[in-house]
Symmetry: C2
Subunit: 123 residues, 2 copies
């Protein structure tokens, strides 16, 4: 995975894991790879990975079983609410940005449709 150098890596890691969990690329109860392994795999320092995983734990998305490792939560309602929150955040950011650029709601919808026509494949 590649990082945006203008955003702290640990935040980008948290986001990526949230995405994987929410999209069921990792399932509830799944064992995650070890801190060191993940760090290696994603080319970051173990400390940075540790920090990201600690955040995930705070969110309730993973839990630790010493010393077996870390596991994805089986609490589906937590996962769902995280997903909802992620979508809302994206919507909010988009609408705020386009509002700042002078567009109104209906124009945003039009723009989105136009954009999707242009780039899309799976309409």
């Amino acid at each position: 995975m590649e990082f945006d150098k203008n955003i702290p890596i640990h935040l980008q890691l948290v986001n990526e894991f949230k995405r994987q969990i929410v999209l069921k690329e990792i399932n509830g109860g799944d064992k995650m790879k070890s801190v060191r392994e993940l760090a290696e795999e994603m080319n970051v320092n173990p400390n940075t990975m540790q920090k990201a995983l600690a955040s995930l734990e705070t969110l309730g998305l993973v839990y630790t079983e010493r010393t077996s490792g870390r596991f994805v939560t089986t609490n589906e309602s937590v996962i769902q609410s995280v997903k909802t929150e992620m979508v809302e955040a994206k919507m909010s950011e988009f609408v705020l940005s386009l509002t700042a650029l002078g567009f109104r709601g209906n124009q945003m919808v039009e723009l989105l449709e136009k954009y999707l026509e242009g780039v899309d494949f799976n309409e």
Copy 2:
């Protein structure tokens, strides 16, 4: 103006000025305030402000007349293309993010419409 602490301030400044120019809150030919004045007003260090303004200059959005100060470009086509680029960037980011969250184009439109119903005032 308030800053997102996770994004370099000079980038946020560039963005804000781009927005102001593109939205004609500042008009072509307008004299901008001095580096020091802007820095004071926006509560950043003059060096940070200087950096942001230098970026704006690179973009062709402002030019310097030593020692009168800095002025907004009168080249409307530059302004328009910057605006287009900003909108495209927002669209792209939004669509990429929601794609990563497992949505397809038509669902994105639905989500946006729903979201706008909920929050909107100026549909």
